[in-house]
């Protein structure tokens, strides 16, 4: 009998505990749901804020200027036109500027990724005297502001007669310290056993570099390449100073000239059309490499 009472009491206690657990679990679930709801709300609001200016660029570029330039402004325009694009092509040699930008950003990317990865190989796989000092010097150069170098670089290239030429804008960008470090960090993580096996088979250093290290570093190379391509495609000051003639001017520099440096001599519709055309090729490239690029960036911040 006494055991029956105990078990009854226990059962009651168990029930109470279960009920309490259930209550806590519900509370936790509600809290989690509310938290999730707020997370979605915050993310959706920020997504709107992120996309809003880009959507405006697209909309204004297809809106007649009379509508854009009337107060009050409207989010959704009441008419559609292609005139801004026609006007734009009349004002700027867009085709030529796009070609220039592709040549400039493309050449810099290919050459710089090659030179950077060579240097990264030397600085990560070969244990030579003075390597530590060299690394220190390279880290220090990363802190030199580009603007501090611009004047002598410009004068140097002017003396060589390379202002307003492809060579002039490409050559100084053929190596970059950031890329070297990113690649070096990645190369260090590739096991050296592979090199040694190849070395026993009689492979030279360049073959180890080209056939073992490079193929194992595609994500890092893609990331450095995309950074290079993006940085040079979007760069404003360098092409603005180096290219005063439309034959070599890049699209980003051309776009800045269109805005007339603060004064709005060009109608906004035309400027937005130019902005869209200048951004579109890069956005297309980005969407193709997006996943691996984002993963690669994640990698750069790990250490």
């Amino acid at each position: 009998m006494s055991s029956a009472t105990i078990s009854a009491a226990q059962e009651a206690e168990n029930k109470r505990i279960n009920a309490e657990n259930e209550r806590l679990r519900r509370k936790a679930t509600t809290r989690r749901r509310v938290g999730l709801g707020f997370s979605y709300l915050a993310l959706i609001l920020v997504t709107i804020l992120m996309l809003f200016p880009l959507i405006i660029v697209v909309l204004v570029s297809f809106t007649p200027n009379e509508i854009t330039q009337t107060w009050p402004p409207k989010l959704i325009p009441s008419a559609f036109t292609l005139d801004n694009y026609i006007d734009l092509f009349g004002r700027l040699p867009i085709g030529r500027e796009l070609l220039n930008t592709i040549v400039f950003a493309g050449a810099v990317t290919i050459i710089s990724v090659f030179f950077d990865s060579l240097a990264a190989y030397g600085l990560s796989r070969v244990d030579f005297k003075g390597r530590g000092v060299l690394l220190g010097v390279l880290i220090a150069t990363m802190m030199i502001p580009g603007m501090a170098l611009l004047i002598p670089v410009y004068k140097l290239l002017a003396d060589m007669g390379l202002v307003n030429s492809y060579l002039g804008i490409i050559i100084p960008r053929m190596a970059d310290v950031g890329g070297i470090f990113l690649l070096r960090q990645f190369f260090i993580s590739i096991p050296k056993d592979l090199d040694n096996a190849a070395r026993i088979d009689g492979a030279g250093e360049f073959r180890i570099f080209a056939q073992i290290v490079l193929p194992n570093s595609i994500p890092a190379i893609l990331t450095v390449g995309m950074f290079n391509f993006m940085g040079n495609w979007n760069d404003l000051l360098w092409p603005l100073i180096m290219t005063s003639r439309p034959e070599t001017r890049t699209i980003t520099a051309g776009l800045a000239m269109l805005t007339g440096h603060g004064s709005s001599v060009t109608p906004y519709g035309v400027v937005m059309a130019g902005a869209l055309i200048s951004a579109l090729p890069l956005l297309i490239v980005f969407f193709f490499v997006q996943k691996r690029f984002v993963e690669g960036i994640a990698m750069t911040g790990m250490k």
Partner: protein
């Protein structure tokens, strides 16, 4: 016994020679691989860095050489009010931009790191998108949106709160803050992706153990998440700060340094002095002041990192 020792000597001699040969070979290989990049850097980074310093000691102009004046340009700089305005503007920008971009990036990384969240890839891409487009395009878009005579933002503010003719970029008090806002908008997605990777590297077991011990959400954040993100933090802060000393494109397109020098930064001033007024010597001195400011921040950062690492080991 003597033969044995001489044999051993011979051995060490051979080993020594081998070592030397390997060292020589490594040096040759190392230099061969680094040469292309080093030559480019020597001509377009090392040489210009020295050259800029030499120019900063002269009255060189863009089209003709001047004379050697020692540190006169620096003295002139430190005595001019405009210089201090530029320095303060640059520091204000950096002090506003770096912490804000880090906090916003971390906050959204934490949001996106929720396990029960859907569409993570979509949100991440949207937040990263402005980082891909040029500052030129971003600046043009925002300039239009904020324009007091054409823009939607002043119009909406007028309708909602009755604030009339708001000119965020054209008012002294708000121009710099607006430039900071636009740059945060453009760049935080990049730092967010880095934080997100850092967060995903933290073991879930740590959080489970903390939950069993009854830790609150804040305690988990403070004692697990933040320490684990330390290396990421260091990287983000140093790049945020060094980057913010170089601010140029936004100022160039949005405000041209105005109104009344309210957004004139050091780099923008270097540009106008060198390529507008042609005063190369003066602009070079400015460049060196900026370089030294950047180096100081970089060294403080390196020092605090090293100190933290020592403390962690101890």
């Amino acid at each position: 016994m003597t033969t044995a020792s001489s044999k051993a000597n011979k051995h060490t001699a051979v080993a020594h020679q081998n070592k030397k040969a390997i060292a020589r070979r490594n040096l040759r290989v190392g230099l061969t691989f680094t040469a292309p990049a080093l030559i480019v850097l020597a001509i377009f980074v090392f040489y210009p860095a020295i050259k800029t310093f030499i120019t900063s000691l002269t009255t060189d102009r863009i089209n003709r050489s001047g004379k050697f004046v020692g540190f006169q340009n620096y003295i002139d700089l430190f005595q001019s009010d405009d210089f201090w305005t530029d320095v303060i503007n640059t520091l204000v920008y950096a002090v506003l931009y770096a912490p804000i971009v880090v906090i916003v990036a971390l906050a959204f990384a934490l949001l996106l790191n929720r396990k029960d969240l859907k569409f993570v890839g979509f949100f991440r891409t949207c937040m990263f998108l402005p980082f891909v487009i040029s500052l030129t395009v971003a600046a043009i878009a925002w300039q239009f949106i904020l324009s007091p005579s054409l823009g939607l933002v002043p119009y909406w503010l007028d309708q909602l709160f009755g604030i009339e003719g708001l000119n965020l970029l054209g008012t002294r008090e708000t121009a710099m803050a607006t430039i900071v806002f636009i740059t945060v908008w453009k760049n935080f997605g990049y730092f967010m992706v880095i934080f997100l990777a850092g967060l995903q590297g933290i073991s879930a077991e740590l959080y489970e153990a903390a939950s069993l011990d009854g830790a609150s959400a804040w305690q988990k954040f403070r004692y697990i998440t933040l320490p684990a993100l330390r290396p990421t933090f260091n990287y983000v802060v140093i790049f945020g700060l060094i980057g913010s000393f170089q601010v140029f494109d936004q100022v160039f397109i949005l405000t041209s340094g105005g109104p009344a020098r309210a957004t004139e930064t050091i780099v923008y001033r270097i540009y106008t002095e060198a390529f507008g007024n042609g005063k190369l010597g003066y602009a070079s001195a400015l460049s060196y002041v900026l370089l030294i400011m950047t180096l100081i921040v970089g060294l403080i950062q390196l020092y605090t990192n090293a100190k933290h690492e020592r403390e962690e080991i101890a």
